[in-house]
């Protein structure tokens, strides 16, 4: 009963927002094109949110995903360009380079590998040095951002030929949306139907207990941060593809959007609670809210206020429901 109600609140708010916009802006909002736009603009954040869900269920947090995204995009793009035979002057100068499919694929995987490595480092620091994830990732956030700027002296890396992740489609659905859906389903499955998912909840609920019950807490945590990193790498390549270039300032304050989506979806920052479906709903809620406000001509600054209010309302209602219980 209670379980249902918890899912119901974010879900009904989502329905409410969709119907509100349908009512206010029927011509522009309720179109296939608009929904496609909303979903593809959600994809990158949503993919990261899927990984962040695991981290937050363990009562952790990763503040570094935004700057990690910038670094993954830049390094992945450089790999792509190098494999396509470009020299450093061409790369740093932003010359248009022809790229083959193989180079793009390897570059994409390289971006993910960079993310996985960054995540591994975060996880290793959290578990080995027994530091709070907040502190570790606050530090690495700054480091990754700095490195992103140093690599090409704050200039973007141009990859104009790298477009499939943005414009490509599978059965009429944008490629990024398909990838987003696959990631969500896979991560949702792992969370619900594997021992790894259970360990995630157990660690968040009580790491001491988990350890006494035979859970290798450190190993599980390192994996969770590593997986998040790899997903950040994937999202980075989608963003790079959209912008046709990798920006060192990409993903500024993206971590806050992602964390907000996960929290609105019902994850508790104190751990042990949350679902992938909730995270999906949280992501869509923020995206649709923004989309509708944009269509209504509300300026971005006011949208920020609206998202902020939603976060506080979501967490408050969650707390009230818990109290009632």
């Amino acid at each position: 009963m209670n379980k249902l109600a918890k899912q119901l609140l974010p879900f009904s708010s989502l329905l409410f927002i969709i119907s509100l916009w349908t009512f206010l802006e029927p011509d522009t909002f309720l179109t296939f094109q608009n929904f496609k736009n909303v979903l593809s603009s959600t994809a990158a954040n949503g993919i990261i949110a899927a990984g962040m869900t695991f981290v937050i269920i363990t009562a952790g947090i990763d503040l570094s995903v935004g700057s990690m995204l910038a670094m993954c995009g830049i390094l992945g793009s450089i790999v792509m360009l190098v494999l396509s035979g470009a020299g450093w002057t061409q790369i740093s100068g932003g010359a248009a380079v022809q790229m083959g499919g193989f180079a793009m694929l390897v570059g994409t995987l390289a971006g993910m590998a960079v993310g996985a490595l960054c995540g591994f480092l975060n996880g290793a620091l959290v578990t080995r040095l027994k530091l709070a994830p907040f502190i570790v990732t606050l530090g690495s956030m700054s480091i990754f951002r700095g490195v992103s700027h140093i690599i090409n002296s704050s200039r973007p890396i141009s990859v104009s030929a790298y477009s499939w992740l943005d414009t490509g489609s599978i059965l009429g659905i944008p490629a990024s949306v398909v990838i987003f859906a696959l990631v969500l389903v896979a991560m949702g499955y792992v969370l619900k139907y594997t021992p790894f998912g259970r360990y995630t909840y157990a660690i968040g609920s009580n790491p001491q207990t988990a350890y006494h019950a035979g859970v290798d807490v450190d190993k599980t945590l390192v994996w969770i941060y590593t997986i998040l990193g790899a997903l950040v790498g994937l999202a980075a390549m989608i963003m790079t593809s959209r912008a046709s270039s990798a920006q060192p300032s990409a993903g500024l304050s993206l971590e806050l959007d992602v964390i907000a989506a996960v929290i609105i979806g019902g994850c508790s920052p104190s751990g042990g609670k949350g679902t992938m479906l909730g995270t999906l709903i949280g992501c869509l809620l923020i995206s649709f809210l923004r989309n509708g406000l944009t269509l209504l001509g509300v300026v971005a600054q006011i949208q920020l206020v609206a998202v902020g209010l939603i976060i506080i309302i979501a967490v408050t209602s969650d707390r009230l429901a818990a109290k009632k219980n």
Partner: protein
């Protein structure tokens, strides 16, 4: 308290309870878990409002809108879990929220006056406590003293103690009893809740038994024995509190050789298949530490463990569980349960490999397995999906026993398996341990309750200051001998 009735939704927690305590006496409140003791005390402390009934203090009717009113009327409650700010010092905790201030326009805290007042109170009661110590550094017993001092500072006339000795060593408990006698002499009235019946009989003037939310019995403690008390609490004859043991120990199943860690020295013993071996000793003697060394929590400096004659290397609990060792920890909340997760998840957590779901879970099968276990253990849950926190203490303990039952460990270490649970659940856990031994498992029972050790075990190991001091046959020893080996 007269005719107190309290309902929570459809559940009647207290029905027409009338309960009185004479000034300056100790009255013990007994009953199984869920009998309504805590609810009754929460009504008294103003946490719950009764649906009907009156509370009279010195003959005057009191109406408490909240805990503050009760406190102001001189009723203080010491809860099972200590509620102190760990980073602050003893005196800071004592004056938290009612600091002594001095100065004119800009008032500041008069620490000297606070410390002086605390010192006087400590001296008057002959406590062993430093008012400047940080609370986090204190032992559980000393924390209890701080709570007591807090109650006394607030001018309490009636103090309610809920399981005050559950986290204390024997020595600390003895000190607490002395203090209770002093409080009595000062005219302070005490309501004492405990599952330790021997303790209750020794300490209380009067005893009142609650069952299913009603008072079923009340009498002076001097007229009672443990047996009559148990009978009143359970409402039925507990013919076999400790089940009869017909042990036929087989081969040596587990052997510890010269185990040494930072906290235990050169501990060696054997446990045979089908045998229950007790481990007695004072708190801090190294009993739980021995278990932790075997289970891979404390790293071994030297020594080894053998299972079925083969050496096993255990560096982490994972490896211990894989080797066939189970460990029911003494602290349900801290190391036993994930309280907000479903009961079923708590049972299966270490057992996915064993259930053949090491990679992918089968949720229907998990549910089935848990329901079957729940039935076997007489677990009182509405459904396995409910959070573990929704169960009573005794049922939470049964949940943990179910976990290790499912793990099917060859060698099971149970650390204080019946702490803080009611007699009914106790008897069930005893019967279950007995069944496990009969099925050829080896069991190491760590307990601070000597009757439990003597009633359940074939042999008794005694520890003192990190060393094993005796290996006795349970049938040939006495509580006195064990205490002697443990303390001297």
């Amino acid at each position: 308290m007269e005719g107190i009735t309290k309902r929570f939704g459809p559940v009647t927690a207290l029905s027409n309870v009338t309960f009185s305590v004479r000034r300056g006496t100790v009255c013990a409140l007994c009953g199984e878990n869920g009998a309504g003791k805590s609810t009754l005390m929460k009504v008294l402390a103003g946490v719950h409002r009764p649906d009907s009934g009156r509370i009279l203090l010195d003959g005057k009717e009191m109406v408490f809108a909240g805990p503050k009113d009760a406190l102001a009327a001189g009723i203080s409650m010491l809860y099972q879990e200590v509620e102190l700010a760990g980073h602050l010092t003893v005196y800071e905790n004592l004056f938290l929220g009612r600091e002594i201030l001095r100065g004119g326009l800009f008032k500041c805290i008069d620490s000297d006056a606070e410390i002086r007042q605390v010192q006087e109170l400590i001296a008057k009661n002959h406590f062993q406590l430093d008012p400047l110590a940080t609370v986090a550094e204190l032992s559980p017993g000393q924390c209890q003293l701080v709570e007591l001092l807090k109650a006394m500072l607030s001018g309490a006339r009636l103090i309610v103690m809920d399981e005050p000795t559950s986290s204390l060593s024997e020595g600390e408990a003895a000190t607490l009893f002395q203090i209770i006698h002093q409080l009595k002499a000062q005219g302070i009235t005490i309501i004492y809740i405990s599952h330790r019946l021997e303790e209750v009989l020794a300490l209380a003037d009067d005893i009142c038994v609650l069952r299913d939310g009603a008072v079923v019995f009340g009498a002076p403690a001097s007229e009672l024995t443990v047996d009559t008390l148990v009978r009143q609490m359970v409402g039925r004859e507990l013919s076999q509190y400790y089940p009869p043991r017909s042990s036929k120990p087989g081969e040596v199943l587990f052997e510890a050789r010269n185990l040494t860690t930072a906290r235990i020295y050169d501990v060696s013993f054997q446990v045979r298949a089908g045998e229950i071996v007790g481990m007695a000793g004072l708190v801090g003697a190294g009993r739980s530490e021995t278990a932790q060394a075997i289970f891979g929590i404390d790293p071994l400096i030297s020594g080894e463990c053998l299972l079925d004659g083969k050496k096993v290397t255990v560096r982490r609990p994972t490896e211990a569980i894989a080797a066939g060792i189970g460990f029911l920890t003494e602290d349900r909340k801290r190391t036993g349960l994930c309280t907000e997760l479903p009961c079923s998840w708590n049972i299966t957590l270490p057992n996915y490999e064993r259930l053949g779901m090491g990679h992918i879970l089968s949720l229907p099968r998990e549910r089935e397995e848990c329901l079957a276990l729940g039935e076997k253990m007489h677990l009182k849950w509405r459904q396995p999906e409910d959070p573990a926190s929704s169960l009573s203490g005794g049922n939470q303990q049964k949940l943990l026993v179910s976990r290790w039952l499912q793990a099917d460990s060859k060698f099971l270490i149970v650390d204080e398996p019946t702490r803080g649970i009611d007699v009914g659940a106790k008897a069930e856990i005893y019967a279950l341990l007995n069944d496990l031994a009969a099925a050829g498992k080896a069991i190491l029972l760590i307990s601070s309750e000597l009757p439990e050790i003597l009633g359940m075990c074939d042999r008794v190991l005694v520890m003192r200051e990190g060393r094993l001091t005796a290996d006795l046959k349970a049938s040939e020893t006495t509580a006195e001998e064990i205490m002697h080996k443990a303390a001297v």
